[in-house]
Structure formats: structure tokens, C-alpha cells
């Protein structure tokens, strides 16, 4: 009986160790390519959070907390909103309205829009990933 559960644990752990880096890479791909194809900040953030949640489910909550501490996940949730709001204020400092990307000092409004949208999607993705991880750690339960 204990041999069978040891085998199950080995299979789960080996597959998770293989899959989690690819899931995180795919999440960053989705965030970065949000302006060329379907995707964007929310989808990529949720996939990033799901990668961490897979790790926590397989290895247990204590192992998961060693990888992402409570302070890190709380700060991640807040950092994304802060980045988004700061981009707006930077646009105001450059002379335009709040969140007016055309006022940024780049060579053309298209380039300014492209770069600002990338920073914004990154912020949204970080917040969504942090919130998903926090939610799972709070609502989930460790089975003995």
C-alpha cells in the first residue's frame, strides 16, 4: 500500500517538475503577445497563477509557501495595480492627460502606445497571478 502511494507521488512530482516551467513560459508568452494575437494581461496572469497552484497542489502548502512567501504574494497583488497607475501619472508628467500614451516622449504615437500597453499588460498579469495564488492559499486546505 505504501509502495503504491510512493509511486503515485513520484509520478505526480516528476510530471509537475517537467510541466511548471513550460506553463510559466507560456504565461509570459501570452502576456507579451497580447497585442498581436488573442491573449493579454488577464489570460497570461491566470495561467501564471495556475502554474503556481499546480506546484502547490502537488508538493503541499508548506513547500509552496517556501517558494512564494506570504509577503511576496501580497506584494505581487499590489504591485501590478501600482505599475498601471504609475504609467498614467508618467503620462501626466509628460504633459498629456491621465493615461494618454501619445504624450509620452517616444518617436511616434504608435511606438508610445505599443510600449505603454506592454507595461500595462505586465502589471495586470502580475496582479492577477498574485491574487490567484493568494486565493488558493487561503481557500485551499491541506489534506493530511
Amino acid at each position: 500500500m505504501s509502495e503504491r502511494s510512493a509511486y503515485e507521488h513520484v509520478i505526480k512530482r516528476a510530471m509537475t517538475k517537467l510541466l511548471v516551467p513550460f506553463i510559466q513560459l507560456f504565461a509570459f508568452y501570452v502576456i507579451a503577445h497580447g497585442d498581436i494575437g488573442p491573449g493579454g494581461g488577464f489570460q497570461g496572469g491566470v495561467i501564471l497563477g495556475a502554474g503556481f497552484i499546480l506546484y502547490v497542489i502537488t508538493f503541499g502548502m508548506n513547500e509552496g509557501r517556501k517558494r512564494i512567501s506570504r509577503i511576496t504574494s501580497d506584494l505581487l497583488s499590489a504591485a501590478g495595480v501600482l505599475v498601471y497607475a504609475t504609467v498614467g501619472f508618467v503620462c501626466m508628467a509628460a504633459g498629456g492627460h491621465y493615461l494618454e500614451y501619445a504624450a509620452l516622449p517616444f518617436s511616434s504615437p504608435q511606438l508610445a502606445g505599443h510600449l505603454a500597453i506592454f507595461v500595462i499588460e505586465l502589471g495586470v498579469g502580475i496582479t492577477v497571478a498574485g491574487v490567484m495564488i493568494t486565493l488558493y492559499f487561503l481557500i485551499g486546505r491541506e489534506l493530511k
Binding site: G40, F42, V81, Y84, A116, T127, M132, L135, I139
Partner: protein, 173 residues
């Protein structure tokens, strides 16, 4: 034809999800419902929305529901609804559906290019978005540039939900 089959599966999944007594099966059926909904949206060419529903609706909602189920009871206790209550529920649902169906009689035909939803703002976004924002995906351009303030509010909403759950569940009872 495939649209009709998908809608039929949607209705069957929805009815099964709310009728099962075993809540774990109910949550699984909700996940299947979300996936079929994502396929229907892909058939309707709404690729961003389908991506979000597949990842958020079928992924995170299922995980959170099962995690919450692990802390409570798995089986629903058998309900005996008194017939008076059933009459009230039936009347409310009939009234609401009658009003909604009366509203759909006025809706434009499905797929009509001259529908009122396609005038005003949407053609302007489609025509001007590449020269004003420079991003090929018009949904991302509208979401992050034309309606960027709404997206800031949405990010704050999801941050607020995280804070709410922290405040509710992190106290040592």
C-alpha cells in the same frame, strides 16, 4: 449545424450541473459548461473572450469551488420543497422569461451588419486604431488605450477581491 449541437450540449450541461446532488460532479459539470461556452465563443469569432473564459471560468473557478468544497460537506441534503414554494418559483421564472422573450422580439436578426450595435463607436475604433495606437489586436487596443481607465478599475476590483478574502479568512478564529 454544429452551432445548434453546441447550444444543445450547453443546455444539457447546465440542467445537469444544477440538478446533481453530488456537489463534486456538479462542479465538474460547471467546468464542462465553461469549456463548451468557450468553444461557442470561438465559433462566434470572439477569440480573446474565449481564451479568458477557458482559463478563468473553466480553470480558476473550478479550482476555487473544489477547494471550498474540501472545507465543507460534499453531498447536498435531500430537499423536500413544499408545493407552495414551487408555485412561487415557477411564477417568478415564467414572468421573467416572458418579459425577456418579449424583449428579444425587437432584437436585430443575428449577424445583421446594419444592427445599431455596429454604428457609432465601433467602426471608428476599427478604422483608426492602427494609426492612433499601433496595435493589431483591436480588442487589446480598445481595452488598454481607448478604455484604459475601465481596465484600471477592473484590476482594482480583482485586487479588492484578494484583499476581501484575506480579511475574511486570515483571522485566527
Amino acid at each position: 449545424m454544429i452551432d445548434f449541437a453546441l447550444l444543445f450540449f450547453l443546455v444539457v450541461c447546465a440542467v445537469a450541473a444544477i440538478q446533481m446532488r453530488d456537489l463534486l460532479s456538479s462542479i465538474m459539470l460547471l467546468g464542462i459548461y465553461s469549456f463548451i461556452m468557450a468553444v461557442v465563443w470561438t465559433r462566434l469569432n470572439a477569440v480573446d473572450v474565449a481564451f479568458t473564459e477557458a482559463s478563468v471560468g473553466a480553470g480558476i473557478t473550478t479550482i476555487l469551488l473544489i477547494a471550498a468544497l474540501s472545507r465543507t460537506r460534499r453531498m447536498e441534503t435531500k430537499q423536500c420543497v413544499p408545493p407552495a414554494n414551487l408555485l412561487i418559483y415557477g411564477t417568478v421564472i415564467l414572468l421573467t422569461s416572458a418579459v425577456l422573450l418579449y424583449g428579444t422580439l425587437d432584437m436585430p436578426t443575428y449577424g445583421d451588419p446594419g444592427a445599431p450595435a455596429h454604428s457609432h463607436v465601433a467602426p471608428r475604433y476599427l478604422e483608426k486604431s492602427f494609426e492612433e495606437v499601433g496595435v493589431p489586436n483591436v480588442v487589446t487596443a480598445v481595452l488598454a488605450s481607448y478604455r484604459g481607465y475601465d481596465t484600471l478599475g477592473e484590476t482594482t476590483v480583482i485586487f479588492g477581491a484578494g484583499i476581501c478574502v484575506i480579511l475574511l479568512l486570515r483571522r485566527k478564529i
